[in-house]
Every structure is written in C-alpha cells, then in structure tokens.
Symmetry: none
Subunit: 323 residues, 2 copies
C-alpha cells in the first residue's frame, strides 16, 4: 500500500495516462474520473478517459462527460493506467481488463475495503466517503486549481456516494471539502435538481396508480403494491419509471418487508423484495428461483398476477411468523 | 435591526427567558428553540420553552423535546421573549400572541426576508440557511459548548431547512458548521433515518390522494395539488403529514413553480409555493399577505378553496409569462 504523495509522484511523472472507473458507472465513478482527467489536462498531460458501459442519462450534464470514450479503447501509447473506485480486477470492465495483463503500470485510487488491491501503486482510503474525496486531496497535492468544471465533478462524486450527506460514511472532512467546492462556485440547488430532483410526469402518475394498489398485512409488517401492463400504458410510463417505486411501501413505519409485483406479460410477473432489519430477501427470492442481496432481491415467476401474489404473500407471511 | 453581538448581550442579561418557534413547528423551529434553550440552561438561566402547536411525531426524538410546554403558557415572571424562525407576529401562535402586547421585551432571531421585524431586538440574517445556523453563531458568542444534545438539535435544524443540503440556501458556511457538529458526535446516519427514513401509513395514503389532484398548466411549468379537510380525515392523516407533499409537484421535470393548496377551514386555505430557478415565490406569497424565501414560501388566504385556487393560479400564470 502506498501513501497519497507516492501515488501523486507517479501520476506527476506520467505523460499519457489512461483513466477509468467501473462498469455500470455511478456519480462517484464518473465524477472522480472526470475531475482527475480534467485536472491532469491542466497539467499538460495527454489524458484519455474511457468507460466500458454507457453513461447513465442522469450524468450527461457532467462537465467533460463528452470526452469519455465509451465502449472502445483508443489506440494510444499509454504510460499509466489510473483506475478509480474499483476494488476488484473485473470492475473496470471488459474494455480495460486486457490492459491489466500487460506491462502498463497501474495506479489504484479507491475507498472500498480491499486487502489485495491489484495495482502497482495503491492508495486505498476506506474512511473517504467517496473516491471523489481522494481525488480532491490528490489534486491539492498536484497543485491543480479547483476550477468550476472540476468542482462540479467532485461535488457530484461526493453527494451521490453519501446519499446527500445522509449515509454513515459522511465525515466532518466530507463537509469541509464540500464547503470549499461551493466556494469555488458549485451551484448546489441546480445540481441537486439534476441529480435527485426531477422525475418525468409519467413517473409521478405511475406512483399514484401504484399507491392505489398498496396493501398491508394485518400485522403491518408486510406491504405490497402491484402494477399491471395496462396501468403502465395508461399513464404513458416506461419500464424505467417502475424502478424506485418499492421505496414507498418500504418507507412505511413498521413495515419490515416490501414487495412490488409487476406484470411483464399475461403469464409473467417480476417480483421485487426489500427488507429493513430481519428478513433475508435473498433467501425469499431464492424460493422462487431468484436472488440478490439480504435486503434487496427479486425474481420472475411464470404465472398470472393473482396467482403469483397469492403464492409469494403466503411465503412472506410464513417467513414473518406471527404475522 | 441589530447585529448578533447586540442581541447576544440582551440575551446574556436575561434571567428567565421564554423561547418559542412557530405554529406547525418544523425541524428548524424546534431544533433552534431546543439548541438555544439547552444552551441558555448551561449558562444558569431559568429557561421556558413553549409551542402553540403539538410537536410532530417525527421530531419527538430531539434531545430536550419533552421540556417544551405545548398548548399552554406556564405562569412565570419572564424577563425576555425570544422568538425564533418567525417573520410575522402571528407565527408564534395564539399562546404567545398576547405576550407581544405586553411590556415584555422581545428578541427575534430569524432568517426569513423581513423588512419590518416585530421585536425590540431583531437579528435577521437572510443568508443563513436555517435559524439553527444563527443559533449556532449565537451560542459561539455566548461561549456555550456544543455538547451532543445541542449539536443534534442544530444539525436537525440545518439538515431539514436545507433539504439535506440540496436547496439554494446551502452555503460553504452551512457545511463548515455541519462539519463541526459531526465533530461533536452527531450520528449522521441515525438522524437521517429518524428524520427522512420512515413515513406513517397515513402519510403515504395522503400522498396518493394528493397525487390524484395533481394538475399541470398547459406550458408544463406550473404544477399544483389541493388537499381538503375531508381528504385528510378520510385517510386518517394529520396536519403534520401534509408537509413534504409539495416535493412531488416540484420534482416533475420541466416544472418551475409548484403549489399546494390546503384547506384549513371552510373559508381558509393555506398555500405553499416552491420554485426551481426563476420565480421569486417570496414576492408571489407577498401578493397574498404571506412570505418566506425566494424558492420556498407560503400564505394563508381567507376564501373558499375554489376561489383561492383561481386567484393564485391566475397570478402564477401572470408571473410566468408565456405560460
């Protein structure tokens, strides 16, 4: 493991660095790559930024995002690969994986717990709320000015990985950094609106329809909603608008297990599960051939909506004994 | 208008201060009253804290909240009334209004735009994101230690009035203050769960009902919902569950101005306004005798719901020309 000054020296010595974050890029991955990429350009380096996966629509506002090459690797004579926000070798994605087998030196900057980082130079700071915090420290060491384009990327990295400063990883240092970024002109409310604020009308209409189907078990611990294809079409919504609906039953006080049933076809239902403290929904989804995590999982069942609801709710009640 | 040191001197001189926030108390009102009340106790003062309205359930975790007297005024020989987070005389509520007619000196600490504050000593700092920020500066001047109970109240005041640091009022100073509060031991993720994490079922039911009334102007820039007393009763909700509903019209893509009409009585309607980038809703609310901030404001209008909607929407359309 290296300290940040050592990694800064290595980066300072590079002339043609290649930067990447991880697959299914999020705000921290993209914001970190862009902040460092734009910063290194200011030092006169020939910077290339790549992403194995497409940039999610919500992040297309990030300054410099159009300079990230998506899905292919430009042929260049790179002299350093800088991997951001990745704890394991396959996180950068198929675009970058072959490079890791070559002679190209690799520098890792990351905040995930990792006993065996895969770089030649590794700075792993698990108390940083976001890799963006590490990049900000690095840019300070490299004496790069935090111009607005860089500040916006750093802010986005930090605000997304801390859930708007609500998660446990948020430290005094996080807020001190963000104070500086706002001082550099970051437009807080505009960015908040871009990142968290806006939903298409169809998505709000779908929420209303879904809430109309909300039911609770007698014990109040299980809450579920169901959405039919007809409902999605009626409000003009799309599949992407269904994501996030499960937060509403989940949010209800006293609810331990939240379920959303979503009709995919006349005989096909997708079931999503969330739990708060007790129920292992990975196991629950497993009962129906699905899986995921302990607190978030899903499965797809071939049967009509009524039958799927009946079976899944029976199993859910069985799991929450006394419910 | 006074500066903060002057008001601090007045408060320092008081022995039996009475503290209050506003009716329908929110996180900033309660957190500010409690932080200052607990702080002045540490200076040996005989502090009384009152609220005209009940404490919303979500804030019952606040340290010291059980010491706020709700709904009646203890008979004591007060020597100073400290009014927090109130820009107009009726905001403290019926409990405190009679006191404003007596000889008791009044100190106002507030962050709402206000050209005619009603105290004998007035510190109005409109660039403070929350009255809690002002209280924190005041406690510093009074050399009160920010012990954990005080820090939790200040944090709650600031995090609620900035919408988790997302609103335009959030400044570098806001984040610097919060960095200090976390340094004093504020448990960020626990508080976030308490404040933002859970909603009672009634609140979700009310959301469904309110979304059923959602309308948009033809231009898509104005969105509004209305809630009648009958609807609130039907779903078993209370006044406190109405707060936050305005975020749904506000969130809609393309909406600049969000409005919630809420029937308080057969001839009384509370109107809440939020804007995103352009409309000065402090001015808009001012047209109807209310006020607040540039991006968040409200007013109460004596007329029936239909008439209030008609008048307010006419004014809103006029403001958003071409809409």
């Amino acid at each position: 493991m290296n300290n940040l000054s050592q990694v800064a020296e290595i980066i300072k010595g590079a002339k043609r660095p290649l930067l990447c974050g991880h697959i299914m890029p999020d705000g921290d991955s993209l914001g970190s790559v862009l902040a460092l990429g734009l910063g290194l350009r200011r030092l006169g380096k020939e910077v290339t930024m790549v992403s194995s996966d497409p940039i999610p629509e919500v992040y297309l506002f990030l300054p410099g995002v159009e300079e990230i090459t998506v899905g292919h690797l430009p042929e260049r004579d790179y002299d350093l690969l800088i991997v951001l926000d990745c704890s394991v070798k396959d996180r950068p994605g198929p675009l970058v994986l072959p490079l890791l087998e070559r002679d190209l030196p690799v520098a890792i900057l990351d905040h995930h717990v990792n006993d065996h980082p895969f770089g030649n130079y590794n700075y792993i700071h698990t108390r940083a709320a976001a890799t963006g915090e590490i990049v900000m420290d690095l840019l300070d060491l490299l004496q790069v000015d935090l111009v607005l384009d860089i500040a916006v990327n750093l802010y986005t990295a930090i605000v997304t990985d801390t859930g708007s400063f609500r998660y446990e990883n948020t430290t005094p240092g996080t807020h001190q950094k963000v104070a500086r970024l706002i001082d550099h002109g970051v437009p807080v409310s505009k960015l908040s609106n871009l990142i968290f604020g806006e939903q298409p009308l169809e998505s709000i209409r779908l929420m209303e329809v879904a809430l109309g189907t909300l039911e609770l078990s007698e014990c109040g611990q299980i809450a579920w909603m169901s959405i039919t294809q007809e409902q999605i079409q009626r409000v003009g919504a799309e599949d992407q608008h269904v994501d996030g609906l499960i937060n509403y039953p989940r949010k209800i006080k006293g609810v331990e297990l939240a379920i959303v049933f979503r009709e995919l076809g006349s005989n096909l239902v997708k079931v999503s599960f969330r739990s708060k403290y007790k129920v292992d929904v990975n196991l629950l989804a497993g009962t129906f051939g699905g899986g995921g995590h302990v607190r978030a999982s899903g499965c797809t069942i071939e049967a009509d909506l009524a039958k799927v609801k009946d079976e899944v709710l029976k199993e859910a009640h069985r799991l929450l004994r006394g419910c």
